[in-house]
């Protein structure tokens, strides 16, 4: 973990010195593991549940112009309890598949991201599985730190708003679930 953080810091320094223009061009891809925080709300629930988990994100796309990229992105966050129950045999995963637009406003690696697509949630409780499918929105920002002509480290800060519908659990039903996930990740970007 410590070496991972140091790698990020070094990349930040290197990138800050060398970034003269957006790194991504042509066909590009990025994979980014990270950490996340989720907030689950439901209809009629007086409060929200919050949990932490690990996230994975994969993006691939192309270039529309010097400042605008388009692509698709998958994102998932996994947590065993995920707030819906305290049973040990529980696991939960929620994610988004979205078409995204990335905007690099200047010559640096700074970018902003927005996207819309579908979302899913899988909840395994004992032997029962419940899942929801719905709408997903994502917004975020980040910075590409070029390491070489073909490779860059990318810092990402993102939010994913997913509407999952009703989740049927053993003995109860959770209506109109909205999971809002916040992600912090370091990506590996290839082009």
């Amino acid at each position: 973990m410590r070496s991972f953080v140091w790698a990020g810091v070094l990349a930040l320094l290197a990138g800050g010195l060398s970034a003269q223009r957006p790194h991504r061009s042509g066909l590009w891809g990025e994979i980014a593991p990270g950490v996340g925080h989720a907030r689950l709300a439901c209809a009629g629930c007086p409060d929200v549940e919050t949990v932490n988990g690990v996230t994975t994100q994969f993006r691939i796309g192309g270039t529309i112009s010097r400042h605008v990229l388009i692509g698709v992105e998958t994102f998932s966050m996994i947590d065993r309890p995920f707030g819906v129950t305290s049973e040990d045999s529980t696991s939960a995963e929620s994610g988004t598949f979205a078409v995204i637009v990335m905007w690099f406003p200047g010559k640096s690696g700074l970018f902003f991201k927005g996207g819309v697509g579908t979302s899913y949630g899988d909840f395994v409780i004992a032997a029962d599985t419940s899942s929801g499918v719905g709408m997903g929105l994502t917004f975020g920002m980040g910075w590409d730190f070029p390491i070489s002509r073909k490779f860059a480290f990318t810092g990402n800060l993102g939010t994913y708003v997913t509407a999952l519908g009703d989740i049927v659990l053993p003995g109860r039903r959770v209506d109109d679930v909205i999971a809002t996930m916040y992600q912090l990740s370091v990506g590996f970007t290839f082009r």
């Binding site: 907030r39 209809a43 605008v68 709408m135 509407a163 519908g165 009703d166 909205i178």
Partner: protein
């Protein structure tokens, strides 16, 4: 406070704009004023909130730091507002944000963050209610679609080369369609200034149809026979996908408005192209173009309420017939509904009687036309909405229609429309499947104004 801040910003940015623009009152491209655009969205929110709090004494408008802290902690939920509020009023509100961007020199894409920012700040800081996810989506995406169409329609109404009373009339006529554009033009002294028009003023090809007559509807309420209602229809085709190569989003769009006695706005539907690519030669007699459109749909009548924000991808084709401008047009599109809304029995939540959900769909159309003006039109559309708020249900909608326009004298025609609507709702909680049909006919006297060419 907010007004003072805005006045200072206007002075500062007006000065820089004049420097950038030289002597003309209508520089093109207009100078971008992103700070002013954001400041105006904040001003809209402060103004609307204070009017609701101080003039109408609405409880929900008396917000304070405790509400803001709670909203930031708890985040999104679904609201229980009426269909018209969520699906028309909020998108119109979003159009104000969007056009704060457009009126300050931002293009379509750069105005998008402005509308998301304006809507997000309203949801979190302008109401005592928790922020509503459906409001954010409808206000933002609907605001983008309606905002860009309103911006362009207002630009066609305004004429920077007109003078006198006619000029003032045009400025006032455009005000309810694009209030933010009107406000910025007034502040900058552009209501009376003479200069060149922006490109949006002249769409090249266009067809405007205004119709008045009657609607005959069967099954609008479950126990009624045939209802007769007075109706007004406005159809606008702004630009032509075959006459103009793609330049900007919504440089070609279609808009239909139906006003009906007793119900006000019954239909407001618009679709504008976001992108287009020729699939064969632009000079071929038979042409095919790949199109991506952003769509806004609002249908609200006693029998059915349905609407949403969507993006569609498909192919428009035109077959020329003879040499006098006649042709056959077809369209085949598939769509993705970002978030839709539909009513059915046992739907909704709390006081809300309809569901929200994403979906998919398709539509097809065949039309006989001359220079883009359709005389005979056959259409089909199917949509499926998966509810994520309200009932546990999947709603399927099928819509077929035929429209005939028969010219009778000069620009006047008699139009006959017939449509058939079907909704089937399947519930996953064991409730029985519900189905609803209604048939509608329209007989209208229609006036057509059209322009041809790029």
């Amino acid at each position: 406070m907010a007004a003072s801040l805005l006045a200072v910003l206007l002075l500062l940015q007006g000065d820089s704009a004049t420097r950038a623009a030289g002597t003309t009152a209508f520089p093109y491209p207009p100078p971008a004023r992103p700070v002013m655009a954001v400041a105006q969205t904040v001003l809209i929110n402060v103004f609307v909130n204070r009017v609701d709090a101080w003039v109408f004494n609405q409880d929900w408008a008396h917000v304070g730091p405790d509400d803001w802290a709670r909203n930031l902690r708890l985040g999104w939920e679904w609201d229980e507002d009426a269909f018209g509020t969520n699906m028309f009023a909020h998108p119109y509100h979003g159009a104000l944000y969007f056009n704060a961007g457009r009126a300050n020199g931002l293009d379509y894409f750069r105005s998008i963050p402005v509308v998301f920012f304006g809507s997000w700040t309203w949801e979190y800081f302008a109401e005592t209610y928790r922020p509503s996810l459906n409001d954010w989506v409808m206000t933002s995406f609907g605001g983008i679609a309606l905002g860009e169409m309103f911006h362009r329609v207002a630009a066609t109404i305004r004429d920077n080369q007109a003078r006198g009373g006619g000029r003032t009339f045009r400025e006032i006529a455009a005000l309810p369609i694009d209030p933010m554009g009107a406000f910025n033009r007034l502040v900058r002294g552009q209501w009376g200034a003479v200069g060149p028009n922006p490109p949006e003023h002249d769409p090249g090809s266009y067809v405007l149809r205004l119709g008045g007559g009657f609607r005959y509807a069967e099954g609008w309420t479950t126990d009624s026979g045939t209802a007769q209602l007075a109706a007004v229809i406005v159809d606008l085709l702004y630009g032509d996908p075959f006459a103009q190569e793609y330049r900007d989003p919504f440089d070609v769009f279609g808009l239909r408005l139906i006003l009906s006695a007793g119900g006000g706005i019954n239909v407001l539907r618009g679709s504008g192209r976001l992108y287009q690519k020729n699939l064969n030669s632009a000079s071929a007699r038979i042409r095919h173009v790949l199109g991506v459109n952003q769509r806004y749909d609002y249908i609200n009548n006693p029998a059915q309420s349905i609407g949403g924000q969507s993006v569609e991808v498909g192919v428009n084709s035109r077959w020329r017939l003879g040499s006098k401008g006649y042709g056959l047009r077809t369209a085949l599109f598939g769509d993705f509904i970002i978030l839709g809304a539909i009513d059915a029995p046992a739907t909704g939540f709390g006081e809300r009687n309809y569901d929200f959900g994403p979906g998919v769909g398709a539509r097809a159309e065949v039309a006989l036309e001359r220079h883009g003006a359709r005389f005979v039109r056959l259409m089909w559309q199917a949509e499926r909405i998966h509810a994520v708020s309200g009932a546990s249900a999947n709603h399927t909608v099928n819509f077929v229609g035929a429209e005939l326009n028969v010219p009778v004298w000069k620009a006047f025609a008699v139009a006959a429309h017939a449509t058939r609507f079907n909704r089937t709702s399947r519930y996953t909680d064991g409730s029985p499947t519900d189905s609803r049909n209604f048939t509608e006919g329209r007989l209208l006297l229609v006036w057509t104004q059209a322009g041809f060419g790029p």
